[in-house]
């Protein structure tokens, strides 16, 4: 890899721009894709690899090209800078998620409690507008406070977020669904919310609950059967 390719690749990644590095095998000739000057078939293969989020070797015009995919990291919005969030944020970062902690209560949302993660003290509706969840985003609400959780869930349900989870008992969750129904969400949409949140591993402590939540997020992301449990 030339220094120039490395610099361009790292710049694209820093800017969160999806990019593919194509390497011709076995001689190592390289291209960064998509590129208007590249073979259209190579560009099409690069776009397909980005969509599939998986590296692969393709054969185009009698040449073998290895396509290395660099999508921006998946993201996790955590609403509520609470004790469970303190366990969840570093574990999620370790799994490769870009973590944003949202809590307008400045006493909770401090860099001392959340070193190295993005913290926003805006109200959840504004904070979620800024976070702009997409199909590579997960949203988890942890406050138990409808004033904070509901606007975030409302925004998440209007997005393509691949995972939405809400902490709370079955009773709390039923009341939550009733409020969200009144905001105009239909049953199919509400079924996207995983509540009670997390895989059922009888988690007790904050790190255990964080583990249950992240295990469920991974299961949903990777299409595992246990990620498809019926919501509520």
């Amino acid at each position: 890899m030339t220094p120039e390719t490395l610099a361009r690749l790292q710049a694209a990644r820093a800017a969160k721009r999806p990019i593919v590095r194509a390497t011709r095998l076995p001689d190592g000739t390289e291209r960064l894709l998509p590129d208007p000057d590249a073979d259209p078939a190579l560009n099409a293969a690069a776009r397909a690899a980005l969509r599939a989020d998986a590296a692969e070797t393709v054969e185009i015009g009698g040449e073998r090209w290895f396509l290395q995919v660099f999508n921006p990291p998946p993201r996790l919005a955590v609403v509520g800078a609470v004790h469970i969030a303190q366990a969840l944020a570093p574990m999620a970062a370790g799994l490769g998620f870009g973590v944003t902690v949202i809590d307008p209560r400045g006493a909770f949302a401090t860099t001392e409690r959340f070193p190295g993660v993005t913290i926003t003290t805006a109200w959840p509706d504004e904070a979620m507008d800024a976070f702009a969840p997409d199909s590579r985003s997960a949203v988890v609400t942890l406050t138990h406070d409808p004033k904070l959780d509901d606007p975030a869930l409302d925004a998440a349900l209007r997005s393509e977020a691949f995972y939405i989870g809400a902490l709370g008992s079955r009773k709390t969750h039923a009341a939550r669904l009733k409020r969200l129904r009144e905001l105009g969400h239909d049953e199919a949409t509400l079924a996207r919310i995983h509540g009670p949140v997390g895989l059922d591993i009888e988690a007790v402590t904050a790190p255990e609950i964080a583990l249950a939540i992240l295990a469920e997020i991974v299961a949903v992301r990777r299409g595992a059967a246990m990620g498809r449990k019926a919501a509520a």
Binding site: T23, L25, P26, A55, A93, G116, T120
Partner: protein, 112 residues
Amino acid sequence: MNTQNETFEAEDVLSLAAAWKAAGEDVALATVTETWGSSPRPAGSQMAVSLSGRMAGSVSGGCIEGAVAEAARKTIATGAPQLLDFGVTHERAWEVGLACGGKVKVFVEKLG
């Protein structure tokens, strides 16, 4: 109020390799390009090797990393990339292979 995460992302072997390179080390990058059967790491998995002996990431469950590191040192010396094949097809048991029965191709190149 916003604070940005400055740490490396999980498994960001390329950024680690770039940092070693920027610090003046000679570095090679090994990447799984194709897999067959029950190979432990998917295509795209990377391992960085420096001439000084640093290693990061993985291209298997630990079965072939030693052989890949050796090939990496050769690529650092010559500058020429290599496309390596590993599998269970080796006839002699002491050759490096994958106990899991899988096969992988690994591309080794010099960084910078």
